[in-house]
Amino acid sequence: MAREWGMRTAYAVSATGHAAVLLWSIWSLAARPLPAPPSEALPVDIVSVSEFTQITAGSKSAPQAETPKPLVETVAEARPVDDPTAKIDEKKEVKAAREPPPAPESKPVEAKPAEKPAETKPDPVAEALAKDKKPETKKAEAKPPVPPKKPAPPAPKFDPGQVEALLNKRVPTRMAAAGEMPNSMPRAGLAHANAAQMSLSELDALRARLAQLWTIPAGAKDPQELVVLIRIKLKPDGTLAAAPMVVNNGTSALFAAARDSAVRALYRGQPFDMLKPEHYEQWKDIEITFDPRDMIRG
């Protein structure tokens, strides 16, 4: 009985163990990235087929596809940082000549430096900041050359506590540099990190909207005359910030007609509300090639 029981336990343990190993391997092995050469991440929207069709069909009444935030689960609360760039500059202030001066001025290099900071744990950075607050970019940039002049004084001031203080200081700075939202888009972390792309469905929806509004001369004899390149600047609300700028040019009447028709499509298509405000940086400036050659049997 006991043996049977033991066997049963053994089975259970074995089964659980196997299952665990299996699960572990599924998760850990399967999730292991392929050692492929670094490439840009391709943002993918989870959209059901029907939703996708509706979006690309350009229907106004189609339900908005819910796109999950790619990388970040939670968006950090806005830190009390009103201007990211300003913060960066403040941080720069910290870096160089600011903090060294106080010490050498007050006393020679030899004696106390180590004690003082250790005991009272002052925040030299804060002090330094408080002492001369010049949060100007120009200044900050001008600073770096200065430090070399006084290389000696800082040396004795070293103290782990100070470093800690400095590190602590850096937290809000980093946050600030990243903006209010740490990162709402995936970045591959490549040197040319431009992986943050609009989702394809946004682009497709934009393309569909324009295709719907763009009337091409059917059966035109010289379809290459119909290719129009237009650059548009958009406002965050998806309307045109300026008149569309036609980049290429042509002399034929056919080109003029195709050009005007494309420009008309852009005017009529606004606001381009399929473009998400959080991707504004990507779509504020778009170059669109209207090329109907595939459509024309010639």
Binding site: T85, I88, K91, K92, V94, K95, A96, P144, P147, P154, A155, P156, K157, F158, L166, T173, R174, A177, N194, M198, L203, R207, A211, Q212, L213, W214, T215, I216, P217, A218, G219, A220, K221, R231, A243, A253, L254, A256, A257, D260, S261, V263, R264, Y267, R268, E281, Q282, D285, I286, E287, I288, T289, F290, D291, P292, R293, D294, M295, R297, G298
Partner: protein, 448 residues
């Protein structure tokens, strides 16, 4: 020294980090500035008609107070028939155009979804009409075109056609075809005793004028490139002959006077020559006659039936129909004759090939299984497409811009043929009103 070393190194690391952060921020900024412009390719468009508003032209001291409305209605009708425009019902107009010197209230026109707007004014002075018009791009809010014409009041229809052409060309990028005429065979009387007369009309069916009295049987009238001369075939007494006629003066002239039957004449693009086929015995061959020297040159010498020749618009090649391969098929050869190359390879019999004035396409009649279809193919024989099909369709002729084909359709039974138009897409087929039955249309070039 030892102490200072790590410090220095720490500091420098810190500095490095800071510098790095600064650099990153800068890089971020610059990369944002250079931020690759988002590129998008739009490779699909629609072929829907462009909604256009054509409010009544403003009239100033015209003898006919309805002149403004008449002109705008003809323009709207022309544009509508082309299939590329959708004139908006005037009842929907919000703004009433009372002058053409002010910029229209574009929001009013956007609201009714007009993409283009045509405004105009007719002023009569010293017995002549001055007609001005402006074409506006409603969404871009700018003028696309502005013209004025002066003419005698009875010419108002032509002015409307000319304006239609200007609007058509500006919006579609292709030349218009509204200021043109059709010559055709008017058929009246009972089926067994049809009277056939040559008739001339505007491309919209207005201003019908008869050119012959109906004593002789007339067939296959064709326009010259000068639009004031036609050539046609007529059975008077004896064999059918090919004639020339000046449609302004009514003057007639025999082109060919050979033994045998000459038929299916057509002008060369320069109007200096007429190409036709001449039947002797059981076969027919192609000949060309220089109209000035009257010299006739034989182009084919076969024991089969070569007929229905048509020049390419550059005048270097001729397409024609021949049964040298058994069934009637379309062939192409150099304008001076020589080796012919077969173009059509589909099932059925191909006839009456006509080269498009644009040069890219050849229209034809195709007979399969008791049906007659009007189709087009590229000048190299590829891309054959049937535009319309039915009991009897025949005699395609191209609009001056090569976008529309006119043909005649005979429903069979006791009724007679009527003229139809179909555009290159095959989607826009329309009947053309004629006073009586009509066949064998030929479309003139744009009038000068």
């Amino acid at each position: 020294m030892i102490e200072s070393f790590p410090t220095a190194s720490r500091l420098s690391r810190r500095r490095l980090i800071l510098l790095g952060a600064g650099a990153a921020a800068l890089a971020g900024l610059s990369s944002r500035r250079a931020a690759a412009v988002l590129k998008l390719d739009v490779t699909q468009g629609n072929v829907q008609p462009v909604p256009i508003a054509v409010p009544d032209f403003v009239t100033v001291a015209t003898r006919d107070p309805a002149a403004g409305r008449n002109v705008s209605q003809i323009i709207a009708a022309n544009l509508q028939r082309s299939g590329l425009f959708a004139p908006i019902n005037p009842a929907a107009y919000i703004e009433k155009i009372s002058t053409i010197d002010a910029v229209p209230r574009f929001p009013d026109w956007r609201q009714i979804n007009a993409q283009a707007l045509v405004t105009g004014r007719i002023t009569e002075s010293e017995g002549r009409y001055k007609v001005e018009f402006r074409l506006w791009d409603v969404f871009a809010g700018q003028q696309l075109q502005g013209q004025q014409y002066t003419t005698t009041p009875d010419n108002w229809r032509r002015i409307a056609h000319i304006i239609s052409d200007a609007v058509y060309e500006r919006i579609t990028g292709e030349k218009g075809y509204f200021d043109s005429r059709i010559v055709f065979v008017d058929e009246s009387g009972p089926k067994e005793r049809r009277i056939k007369r040559l008739a001339l009309m505007d491309q919209d069916g207005a201003n019908v004028r008869y050119l012959t009295r109906g004593d002789d049987l007339v067939l296959t009238p064709r326009f010259s490139s000068s639009a004031d001369t036609i050539t046609y075939m007529s059975y008077g007494q004896g064999d059918p002959r090919v004639y020339l006629m000046n449609i302004e003066t009514g003057q007639r002239e025999i082109v060919s006077n050979f033994p045998g039957m000459s038929f299916s004449p057509r002008f060369s693009p320069d109007g200096q020559r007429v190409i036709f086929s001449l039947q002797r015995g059981g076969n027919s061959n192609l000949f060309v006659m220089d109209l000035r020297s009257k010299a006739t040159t034989r182009l084919t010498d076969t024991q089969v039936i070569d007929t229905a020749p048509s020049y390419s618009p550059d005048g270097t090649r001729i397409c024609f129909e021949s049964d040298r391969g058994g069934k009637q098929q379309i062939y192409v050869m150099a304008a001076g004759g020589g080796e012919a190359q077969r173009l059509s390879f589909g099932d059925g019999a191909y006839s009456t090939p006509v080269w498009s004035p644009r040069g890219d396409l050849i229209a034809f009649t195709k007979q399969t299984e008791g049906k007659f279809a009007i189709g087009i193919m590229r000048a190299d024989g590829s891309g054959e497409r049937i535009l319309t099909e039915g009991y009897h369709n025949e005699g395609p002729t191209w609009s001056p811009n090569g976008r529309v084909i006119m043909f005649f359709r005979d429903p069979g039974g006791n009724s007679g043929p009527a003229l139809y138009t179909v555009d290159l897409t095959g989607r826009n087929e329309q009947v053309l009103k004629t006073p009586s039955y009509a066949s064998d249309p030929s479309w003139s070039p744009l009038l000068q």
